[in-house]
């Protein structure tokens, strides 16, 4: 990219099953306050020199709050009172995508992305059911889990992937999460624990799945090159970004292959000048709600060939000390709410490049990948390449 956009500030809450002592605005403001404190920024309309956050981009799904225009009610909590605000009804990576485009267009210099979801306030499964089309899939009772079980079966059948290989991703995530103070579900588990856990939707077991309920928020501040250099001496540059949609109806695609992810990744790699992602990327934070997805997504991201996701995880290359560590934070399998999940992937990837990932830090990380998806079985995919 000839123009440059940087991530300059990051704030996350701890992710928990039930923040019963907090209202949605309280949760959002926890993350926002951290990002503001880290950067020393405030909002443009109250900044003495007019240098501050100009726009808020939220990610919110109306159904989770039970009213339309979900972020209208907490606009003063997110600082949008008197500023520009838009909501992206999708994964947090899409809000980051739009923030980058708006800064590149020259329309704004500093934008804050805010993602906030409290799954504990309603039924996530019921809302996921509303994502499916009304006529063909919704009446069958689909939610993300049941659609994922269909995809897992198809993927494992087509490429001979074994449950033990998927379980390795579940184990790795929960163990990595022990080094992440924000993680909801850090666990010392092994493959037998995963394979012995209760079946949810064959072949997905309890420990193959993200926790059933998660609450939390994540805020990211992005800035133009000129503004970024005023704000921080550790800017994390957006080097490449790409997204792609696939068919909604599950019968209109081969669920064993994630073509939309492959295309999204190609677009991001082309922009970032990456030709060999396994070698050129130092750390990846990818959105994995179910263990098989880590294997499948690594194929879509081009870290290995089609059907080779099992071999890749068997090789140890994606472990903390491997060639390309995947999800040092523990990822979604260790607990991140809907939509916040992608924002958290970007935040964690940026923390790695700032050298601020604490005990989950990957040494000498210079290039990182953040991935998010939205829709059943990864219908739409977004890939972001970051560098420092």
């Amino acid at each position: 990219m000839s123009l440059k956009v940087a991530i300059v500030g990051i704030g996350q809450t701890k992710y928990e099953a039930n923040k019963s002592d907090m209202w949605q605005g309280d949760v959002a403001y926890d993350a926002i306050e951290k990002a503001l404190q880290q950067t020393g920024l405030t909002y443009q309309d109250v900044a003495e020199d007019g240098f501050g956050i100009e726009k808020i981009l939220t990610t919110g799904e109306d159904h989770f709050i039970g009213r339309t225009c979900n972020f209208f009610w907490i606009h003063h909590y997110i600082g949008a009172f008197g500023l520009a605000q838009n909501n992206v009804s999708g994964d947090g990576t899409y809000a980051v995508y739009h923030a980058v485009l708006e800064i590149l267009s020259g329309h704004h210099d500093i934008i804050m992305v805010v993602s906030n979801t409290k799954e504990s306030e309603t039924s996530r499964g019921g809302i996921e059911n509303c994502i499916f089309d009304h006529i063909f899939l919704q009446p069958l009772g689909f939610d993300y889990l049941t659609a994922a079980s269909l995809q897992a079966q198809r993927y494992m059948y087509k490429y001979g992937i074994q449950p033990e290989q998927c379980a390795k991703a579940a184990v790795k995530s929960r163990r990595n999460a022990k080094r992440n103070p924000y993680a909801q579900e850090p666990l010392s588990i092994d493959i037998d624990d995963v394979l012995g856990s209760r079946m949810l939707a064959s072949p997905i077991r309890v420990l193959d799945s993200k926790p059933p309920v998660s609450d939390g928020a994540c805020a990211i501040i992005l800035a133009s090159e000129k503004a970024a250099k005023k704000i921080t001496d550790k800017p994390v540059w957006v080097r490449g970004i790409g997204n792609c949609y696939d068919a909604h109806y599950l019968g209109d695609r081969d669920l064993a292959d994630c073509d939309s992810l492959a295309l999204a990744a190609q677009r991001a790699y082309r922009m970032a000048g990456i030709s060999d992602p396994l070698k050129e990327i130092d750390v990846a934070e990818i959105s994995t709600e179910y263990s098989y997805q880590e294997l499948l997504w690594t194929e879509g991201l081009g870290f290995c060939g089609r059907g080779e996701g099992g071999h890749l995880i068997d090789s140890g290359a994606t472990q903390m000390k491997g060639e390309l560590p995947i999800n040092p934070s523990g990822g979604i399998l260790a607990g991140n709410p809907f939509q916040v999940a992608g924002t958290a992937r970007v935040a964690e990837a940026a923390l790695q490049l700032r050298g601020e990932a604490g005990r989950r830090q990957i040494k000498n990380a210079k290039t990182a990948l953040a991935h998010g998806f939205y829709g059943p079985c990864g219908q739409s995919q977004c890939v972001i390449i970051l560098g420092n």
């Binding site: 499964g125 996921e128 509303c130 269909l150 059948y157 949810l200 064959s202 019968g251 209109d252």
Partner: protein, 168 residues
């Protein structure tokens, strides 16, 4: 000694009850009428790439062209087909389609990915299987649609009660 107390948190209950009546659209309307009146499954064929689309759609996603509502573009599919895969949800995390909520302990039957005869790689229907679980459901098995009686058919996908395996 100070007495230990538990913090109490007030939760404010609310619900959203809204009803919709969504037109099925030109092609799905015809599709449902033929299901209701004739117990037949019809798909639409893209005249450019040959994809046989089920559900029938007016735009081919691959070619990005409008598919005309002409009789030669419609294709009657067989009442039998091939099972590509089946899955079954156990436990209490599934959704009751009538309410959108997941009732504790209620168990639904398995669902199957079915390619009705006459379809091609684009033709896949997700529907209920007549089986207690997936033990005896395997990719490649032959299946057939079991329809509700005419007076119970209303023009929805649930006009087919389920698909059952058949020996051929």
């Amino acid at each position: 000694m100070e007495e230990k107390t538990t913090q109490e948190y007030i939760r404010v209950p609310h619900r959203l009850t809204v009803h919709w009546k969504e037109p099925a659209g030109a092609f799905v309307n015809r599709f449902f009428l033929r299901m209701r009146d004739k117990a037949e499954l019809w798909a639409i064929k893209c005249p450019k790439c040959g994809a046989i689309l089920l559900p029938p759609e007016i735009v081919c996603g691959k070619c990005k062209i409008r598919i005309e509502d002409k009789e030669e573009n419609w294709l009657k599919l067989g009442n039998r087909g091939t099972l590509l895969l089946a899955y079954h949800v156990t436990g209490s995390r599934e959704i009751d389609p009538s309410t959108g909520w997941h009732p504790d302990g209620q168990v639904f039957g398995p669902l199957g990915f079915i390619r009705p005869d006459g379809g091609n790689e684009w033709t896949l229907l997700v529907h209920a299987m007549d089986a207690e679980d997936t033990k005896n459901l395997h990719p490649g098995m032959r299946v057939e649609a079991v329809w509700k009686p005419r007076k119970e058919r209303t023009g929805t996908m649930q006009d087919i009660k389920f698909w059952r395996t058949v020996e051929e």
